[in-house]
Each structure stands twice: as structure tokens, then as C-alpha cells.
């Protein structure tokens, strides 16, 4: 893996070039990885993604918690000349293996000195560093993260935070020792909650390793995934991230998984973070929200979301977002999306995910241009206020609406009276 910084500015963060595989495509940071579940982009077949979202090379963000059961099959598959991206239907695309699924809240507990819990669909599995390295060797991702205890957030007690650092250090002793046995690039995990001392200690352990031990950093322990990332308090998050960034090696990419809001993403990029994922677009689609926030200077007042569950959409035959060129907005209406929600049809989240990914990926295109022009403060201002006066709220409320018979259309029975 090769990473080169193109430019760094005080207000806009850094622009970089990342080549994950030799001979592979050169990617630009700030980079958006495609979050996956069981190796697939949520709801979208590879065919739909390539036909209607993007044909450019992607970095697939795999998670062990949704792919652990595939390790055995992958060991056999990888003995040929095809890799794990081919196995999940995305030949030629790149991949990063994480432990936890950023789309879902990771349950707390189950940690221990020698094992790390892995929450899968089948329940909790116990991961030892030995077992973890075996699985990484079977799955053979391009990049994988170091094993760590990241079960912390802004509320964690000092003792809990210290434990996460100590356990991570212990796991990583083994992993640094064994890393030569897998060809994949390692990301050094940085944990320590919101505690500056603990973060420093965690970074120190990584930086003590001989040169070339790892290719980048993954910062965890700020939230526990799922919607918890959308509500992190940036007043607490940004100072601790700044504290970490100062101590990280500059020439290594910094990855920060989780469904941070668009505004938080911009602030994190300004701080010098490089790699994020699409879990925010997923969480919005899961809760029937279409992303509609504005990130180009257009002068129009915008709202961050369109709530598809809202009955006001029932007979609204306009697209989710007028200015959007995605398949969903070109061919389908709010009324149809609302109908698909009401009938609990699978096409609903498919169409929403097509739009949300389209929108979010375009947002990242704009971000890269903005960083290059050093115009981040202006973009932040636009995203923060959406051309209105007050700061808009980007947090995603879990959809708790229940579809009842009373909310069904009455047209049928009315005609039959």
C-alpha cells in the first residue's frame, strides 16, 4: 500500500493519493469506503451498484462480524487466483476488513484480557488474537485492522478506557509479531475513548513498532457504531481527535469508521482524517430517510432529509430530490417510495440506497474539490445552515412508525361500498 500527501492546509485538511494494490487504481483521499453487510453493499446487488451507482473502483469495507462464517469457504476460494472482492461479486475492487459493523450498534460487554467479543448474526463469538489472525489469513483482505477493544464512548469511566488500551496493547503484541504471516496491510488501532492520556498511550504503542509494521491508523472507541455515531458531541470529539492527530505519523492514512453526520465528517476532514465509510447513507435508508442536504452553492434553502414515511408524500409525484440524476430520482416518485414503505417492499430500501449512495458519493467528490481549493470553512457553513439561518439537525431518528391497517388507503373499500 502506498500513500502520498498531495497537500495539507490549516483549514481544510489534507488531500492524498492512496494506492492499495500494486498496479491497482490510485484513489484520492478524503476517501469514502463502501460499507457492506456479508460482503454485499446493503440491499444492492453488484449489478445494480455498477449499473446505477458507480462503475469506478471502490474500497469495500468488510466487517468480520458479518463475514466470519465465510472464512472457511474463503480459505478455499483464495487458494486460486481470485480474491475476496471477487467472491462477493466485485472483482477488481479493493477491500478493508474491519471487526465491527459500523451500521449497527455494537453491544457492550463480553470483553476480557484474552478475548475480544465478535457480535455476529448468530450471537456472540469469542475472538482470540490467534483465531483472528487465522481468519484474516483465510479471508486475505487487502487491508485489515488490528484487534482491539473499542467498547468505549464519551460516557466511559476512566478505568474502562484504560482497560481498552491495555487489552488492545496485549492483542497487538501478538498481531505485530505474527503480521508477517499474512500478506495484507495492517492498520494500527488507536483506542482510549475521550481520554487524552489513554489515547497518547495507545498511539505510543503503535509508534514504538519497527518501521513498516503497519500501513495506516484506525481510530475507534469514540462511539459504539450504528446511530450512536450520528449523535457524538463534536465539542468533545474534535479536541480528542486533534490531540491524536498531532501524534500520528503524517504519511499514513487515518481511517475513522462510523455514521458521522455530514457536518461532523467535514470537521474531521479539516482535522486531518482521511478515510470514512457510507454507513450514514445506510442508516438513513434503513430509517426511510432520503438524503437531500445541499453541498453546492445554489442559494436554495434545503432540508437535510426527506422522510419517506411522511403521509404528505402519498400523492406527491415529484422525485426525492429535483436536482438529482440518480435512477431513483429520474424514474420514481416520492409517492411510489412512500407506497413501498407502506407495503414493506424490498424495492423501497433498494431505491433509497441507490439515491443515498449517489448523493453521499457526490458529497465526497465535492469535499475533495473543496479541500484542494482550501474552501472547507465555506462548505461547512453551507452544510451547517443549508442556506437558512439556524443550524440544521443531521441526526437520524430511528423509525418507530408502525404500519397499521388504519394507515392503508381507503380507495378500494370506498369503491366497493
Amino acid at each position: 500500500m502506498k500513500f502520498a500527501i498531495e497537500s495539507i492546509t490549516k483549514n481544510s485538511g489534507r488531500l492524498g493519493q492512496l494506492r492499495i494494490r500494486e498496479g491497482g487504481p490510485e484513489l484520492r483521499t478524503p476517501l469514502l469506503m463502501q460499507t457492506t453487510k456479508g460482503g454485499s453493499i446493503p440491499w444492492l446487488s453488484a449489478d445494480v451498484f455498477e449499473s446505477h451507482v458507480s462503475q469506478k473502483p471502490q474500497v469495500l469495507q468488510f466487517t468480520l462480524s458479518t463475514m466470519d462464517q465465510m472464512a472457511e469457504a474463503l480459505a478455499q476460494w483464495n487458494s486460486g487466483d481470485r480474491g475476496v472482492s471477487d467472491y462477493v461479486g466485485f472483482p477488481g475492487h479493493l477491500n478493508v476488513l474491519l471487526l465491527r459493523d459500523p451500521c449497527e450498534t455494537t453491544p457492550s460487554g463480553g470483553n476480557d484480557r484474552d478475548i475480544q467479543p465478535l457480535f455476529t448474526r448468530r450471537g456472540r463469538e469469542s475472538l482470540t488474537p490467534e483465531r483472528y489472525m487465522e481468519m484474516v489469513a483465510s479471508i486475505k483482505p487487502d487491508i485489515y485492522q488490528g484487534l482491539c477493544d473499542a467498547d468505549t464512548n464519551a460516557e466511559s469511566a476512566k478505568k474502562r478506557v484504560q482497560k481498552s488500551v491495555d487489552r488492545t496493547e496485549k492483542f497487538m503484541h501478538y498481531i505485530y509479531e505474527q503480521r508477517g504471516k499474512v500478506p495484507s496491510t495492517l492498520l494500527a488501532p488507536i483506542v482510549g475513548g475521550y481520554n487524552t492520556f489513554a489515547r497518547t498511550q495507545s498511539i505510543k504503542h503503535a509508534r514504538e513498532q519497527p518501521a513498516g509494521s503497519y500501513g495506516g491508523y484506525i481510530l475507534e472507541g469514540f462511539h459504539t457504531n450504528g446511530l450512536t455515531a450520528t449523535t457524538v458531541d463534536t465539542d468533545k470529539l474534535l479536541p480528542i481527535v486533534e490531540h491524536c492527530v498531532k501524534q500520528l505519523e503524517e504519511d499514513k492514512p487515518r481511517l475513522l469508521p462510523g455514521a458521522f453526520t455530514p457536518l461532523t465528517i467535514l470537521e474531521l476532514i479539516a482535522q486531518g482524517m482521511d478515510i470514512f465509510d457510507t454507513s450514514y447513507a445506510y442508516c438513513a435508508a434503513l430509517n426511510f430517510k432520503a438524503l437531500t442536504f445541499c453541498f453546492v452553492q445554489a442559494g436554495e434553502k434545503q432540508v437535510p432529509f426527506l422522510d419517506v414515511t411522511d403521509d404528505a408524500n402519498k400523492e406527491n409525484f415529484s422525485p426525492l430530490l429535483k436536482t438529482c440524476s440518480c435512477l431513483t430520482c429520474q424514474k420514481h416518485t416520492r409517492a411510489y417510495l412512500h407506497h413501498l414503505y407502506k407495503t414493506n417492499e424490498l424495492l423501497g430500501p433498494i431505491l433509497l440506497m441507490v439515491h443515498n449512495l449517489h448523493h453521499y458519493m457526490a458529497f465526497f467528490e465535492t469535499i475533495r474539490e473543496t479541500v484542494a481549493k482550501d474552501k472547507m470553512p465555506e462548505l461547512m457553513e453551507l452544510v451547517r445552515k443549508q442556506n437558512g439561518d439556524a443550524q440544521v439537525d443531521y441526526s437520524i431518528a430511528a423509525n418507530t412508525k408502525v404500519i397499521t391497517k388504519a394507515t392503508m388507503g381507503k380507495g378500494f373499500a370506498a369503491a366497493a361500498m
Partner: protein
Amino acid sequence: IPPLTYKVVAECSVTKARAGLMTLRHSEVNTPVFMPVGTQGTLKGILPDQLIELNCQILLGNTYHLGLRPGIETLKLAGGLHKFMGWPRAILTDSGGFQMVSLLQLAEIDEHGVNFRSPFDNSQCMLTPEHSIQIQNAIGADIMMQLDDVVKTTTTGPRVEEAMERTIRWVDRCIEAHARDDDQSLFPIVQGGLEVPLRQRCVSALMERQVRGFAVGGLSGGESKHDFWRMVDVCTGYLPRDKPRYLMGVGFAADLVVCVALGIDMFDCVFPTRTARFGCALVDSGQLNLKQPKYKMDMEPIDKDCDCSTCKRYTRSYLHHIATNESVSCSLLSIHNVAYQLRLMRIMREAIQKDEFPHFVREFMKRHFQSDPIPAWIREALAAVNIQLPADQEKKDELEEAPKAERKQEPTKSMTQPAATS
């Protein structure tokens, strides 16, 4: 130009099979055709563009469900179902009566129509032939069905005759109520249970009406396969040659092949998309239940000769891991299963056009049943249209309809019944 024209393109010189071209307002349809079921204005996890890529020419929508959601007012405002769901090609709708009778326990039928309790406020409502047509006119499908008097296929006695006679009376009410005859074609439904004379009488009565095609109803509801094929055979024997014939609710591969041989042109069934949800993939030998452990390390596609987007990219092994776990698996298997059904129909059309259909039927049955005995009803049905199948290696006729895991499909009763949703 009438909203439906049909012409026979080729006829099998041995069986009653025929290949045709049906031209509708929204699409040309090559027959014999399988119509995937998009109950609520969408086909389980498949984009309209993907269906077009599979060369699907016509979909089925359910009037009962669409009438409830989004409701006819919304459909009218949208300009009909085609626009509402973004599907530019043809649609066929049922009358809503069958689903009402099968889904609502309190539905009762009298001369006026189907009495039912509204599923949203429990009030007493009635679906009359006129109402069914009004709703179907709002939906705007290319082909619509008359409201018929539905009885269980296993019903015997005078109720069967009453239902058949009422169905004929109701078709006149439907024709009278039909307000968009320039755009939409109304099909009457042949009823008459399992009794040959009733079926004959029904066909000849319906043929006196001005209609552009016919449906055969009241089958595939749990009757014996012996009765099933004979009723199909009787109906196609009396129906006019120059109009399309639609057999409602039939969609298992072997049934499709037999009924094409008997002269049916149109089919629908929820089975291909429903079985996909349970992790099952259709192949010539029946279906693969991909959840089975034996597929865990199987690095082949579902069917290496299938050119669907799923078989091009995914192995059985990967599908094994995500089937029923990740919702994308439902889309992936639905695509393959719909592709399978559509390909089977295309191969049959081509065989009929080359006049090689009997050869195709023999080869298909060999692949489908492999070393299992071919059920007696299939032998009889095919013999009735002059196809003799080679004798089984061992005679095991008594096993005729015993369902077998994997190879054969599940017992017909639970799956041929059109159900609430696909």
C-alpha cells in the same frame, strides 16, 4: 387499433402447442409467456430496468392489494399503475375476487358480488363485478380479469354449476361496466370445476361474448394432477384458436411444459419469487436449496449455462452464506428464478417455431426427473397430445406424486395457491 391483437406465429405439428405474438398498448408479448407476479406494484427486490434486461414483457398486479395500497385515488392521480411504478411494459391484473376469498375469512359470495369486512375498519363491504372493473380501469392494466365466482377446486355438487353460471352472468356485468375498452382488454374466466360438461358449457357461453382472450380459472388449487391436466385439455380443446389462453396460477416448470403442450399461452405464479426468499434457486432438475450445508464450499454458479446477472457474478458458496441473512440475496435469487422461468418459455417458443417441441419436451422431462420416475399424470397428459415418453428404468408408479426433497418441488397444494403476496 384494438388494445390487444393476437396472432399465432407457429403451431407444433404434434401437440396443441403454439407460439404467438400478442400486441398490447404497452408491449409486444411473445407467447407462451410466463408473467412474474408483482403483487403490490413491485416485483420482490427487482428494478424495472432489470426486468427489461431479462426481457420480461408483461407483469401481473393484484387488484385486491393495489386497491388497498396505494388505493385507487392515488393510482388515478398517478395516471395508472404503469406510471406509478415506473414500468413501461404490459401489465395484467386479476379481479381481486380470488384473493379476497382466499385471504379474508369472512368473505361470502351472493348474486350481487363478494361480501367482505373491510380490513381497515371492519365495516361490511361488497365487491361487485362493476366495482372490480372500476378499480381495474383505474389501475389501467393492458389486460384485466372479470370478477368470477370462486369455489374451492375440491368442491363438488350443485355449487360448482351455480358458480359457473354466475360467472357467466357476471362477465356480462363486467363488460357492461368496462369504461376503457379502447385501452384495456377484459378476459372472461372459464369455470366449471372438475366436470367436463360444465367446462364445455362455460367455454361455449363465454365464446358468445365479445372478448379478446380467455382465462382458465378454478385450477391449481389442490385438485389431483390427473383432473388438472384433463380440465386444461378440455378447455383448450374448445377455446378458439385465434385468441390467447391464460391459465391462472400455474408456474412450476413441469406444469408449464405440459400445459404449453396442451395449448396454453399465458401463465403466472408467485412461486419463483417466493421460493427465492427461502434461499431456493430454480434449475432444470427442480430447485437448489442453497441453505443446505453442501453448498458452503461449492464455487460454481447456480447454473453455469444461465446468463443472468447473478450467475455471472456469484457462486453457490457465497449465496449459501447470504441467503435468508442479507436481503440482497432475495434480489439475487429472484433475478435468477425469473430469468429461469423466462428462459424456459423462450426455449419452448423457439422449439415450437422450429417444430422441435416434442423433442424438447422429452429432453426436458429427462433432465427434470433424472433417475426419478416421471409422474403418471405427465405421461398421460403428454400422451393425449401424442408425445410418448420413454419408459422409466424401474417401474415405480405408486410413488407418482410423492414429494422428494430437493429434486422435486414441495407438495403442490401449498405452493400453487396464489397467495397474499409473492
